[in-house]
Symmetry: C2
Subunit: 297 residues, 2 copies
């Protein structure tokens, strides 16, 4: 006897949330992680130096991720890039030649070109793939790289700095976290080379992580920079996608006080203003206590 | 033939991380989540109003969580509680009677008692279990509740406020997020009752969430408060465990300008200082644009 053909409808109960549940997760510390829901992976390659990932997030638009650490997202990269650049360039008496160490995405350069007095900008990032990815996927971040004052050099910044003594008015160290090839960027020997690459009255700024977690790192980097620079300053600001949402910027100066404002960027900014400039150097007691030893403010 | 007894050693390859992998995860938005590694759950109950969870985190010490939202951790509750209290009480000409709406944990009260001029403090939280949990698990947060000037009332703050016209010099709305029973705390009718409960020249402060995500919420609450109060101000500050790490505090005033500092807390603060007071009212352009319509600063 042949079986009758039977059509069976398997009825599956509807589930409240039934969509692709894709997440990027950054382990910000061993005990803390940030997750961002993503809709797609746009690029994921191993460069000569690091894993480079570009994803589309639901919350913040596109994100650039290097070795698992979120560098920035389209929607709030402005807070970081504006704070890396404008406190320094708005207070330096006459910044003509500026060097960016790292920062291949071009975010800092985009802010530097808002200062008309700057004549030459050198961007030295060891990883050419970061520059390429930014040009391909982050047009609003990398647009400054097309400015005619900009020279992009994909090479080792440590070597470049050694080869250019007394050359720059301002140096911006837009590094990744101090792991792997970036470890040296948080140590005194590097800051000595940076100081030597500055002209008289030059200033350097470096991102020095959160004041709330890994505090040793901030105080270490600040102390190391302080063994080289006669005047040390710290400013801080919001950065929603970095661990704890607050970020510090350490400034070493061969002369000028970065709290003295001498000019404003010539184009629109979203986070920075002269008032924010002043406010960003106001530190809560718990940060002051951390750095008391060699803070000049 | 009998088999010889054989001893077999099963060698298991060591795994890099082999420990309890316990996490608390807060869905801060639909597309963003914060995870904190935990070592234990100290309390987990359903109160009459919400799910109350106390966990021990590795990163930040103990944490109080209400309905899945992280209220604070031992290590950084100070940023929030100090900013909820000191800008208001340091600027009011003569704050004698102060009301805290919500805030059953006592963190705001601990900061209020640092102002010697305050004579009476009312804490009105609908959920007595929050008060109990704080006394049991967060002695450093709840210590202020033992001050003799404090009256703790576990009841509906909306009713309490209606019953106390022209009574308080300052009202601090330390609410949870605007879901469920806390929705009304972000609307004009509530602010009208708050204004009526204030004495002449009184001020109110309310936490109004992050300026980076759910921005509609901030501008909505600010607008609603602004339909009642003649002068509206916003200050902001760091709060590492809240979404995006930056938090806003909306201040409605019947007279005084909260930027005019008249006194300092009499005991030590970790985040607040007179300089931070002034700096916290400095808003980045992107926040000013959000609120432009009715900002008095």
């Amino acid at each position: 006897m042949r079986f009758h053909a039977r059509v069976v409808f398997y009825v599956i109960e509807p589930i409240a949330i039934r969509k692709n549940d894709l997440w990027f997760t950054e382990y910000q510390t061993n005990a803390m992680r940030l997750g961002l829901r993503i809709t797609s992976i746009l690029k994921n390659i191993k460069t000569d130096y690091q894993q480079l990932l570009v994803v589309e997030t639901e919350e913040y638009g596109r994100a650039l991720i290097l070795d698992g650490a979120l560098m920035f997202t389209d929607q709030n990269e402005f807070t970081y890039h504006e704070m890396m650049v404008h406190p320094l360039l708005s207070s330096h008496p006459d910044p003509r030649k500026v060097l960016v160490v790292g920062g291949g995405d071009g975010g800092c350069v985009r802010e530097i070109v808002k200062h008309d007095c700057v004549e030459e900008i050198y961007l030295v990032d060891i990883d050419e793939e970061v520059i390429k990815a930014s040009l391909d996927f982050f047009p609003a971040v990398s647009e400054g790289l097309r400015d005619e004052r900009v020279k992009v050099l994909p090479m080792d910044a440590l070597k470049f700095i050694k080869d250019h003594p007394a050359t720059f008015d301002a140096i911006i160290v837009d590094s990744t976290d101090p792991v792997d090839f970036a470890v040296g960027l948080f140590e005194a020997p590097f800051y000595r080379d940076v100081a030597a690459a500055l002209r008289e009255g030059g200033m350097v700024v470096a991102q020095t992580e959160s004041p709330f977690v890994n505090r040793d790192l901030l105080s270490h980097a600040f102390l190391q920079m302080g063994t080289v620079f006669p005047r040390m300053f710290l400013c801080w600001g919001a950065m929603p996608t970095y661990p704890t949402g607050s970020w510090t910027y350490s400034i070493g100066s061969l002369g000028p006080d970065p709290r003295t404002i001498r000019r404003s960027p010539s184009a629109r900014t979203q986070y920075y203003s002269s008032d924010i400039h002043r406010a960003s150097f106001v530190l809560p007691p718990f940060i002051k206590e951390l750095l008391r030893a060699n803070l000049s403010q």
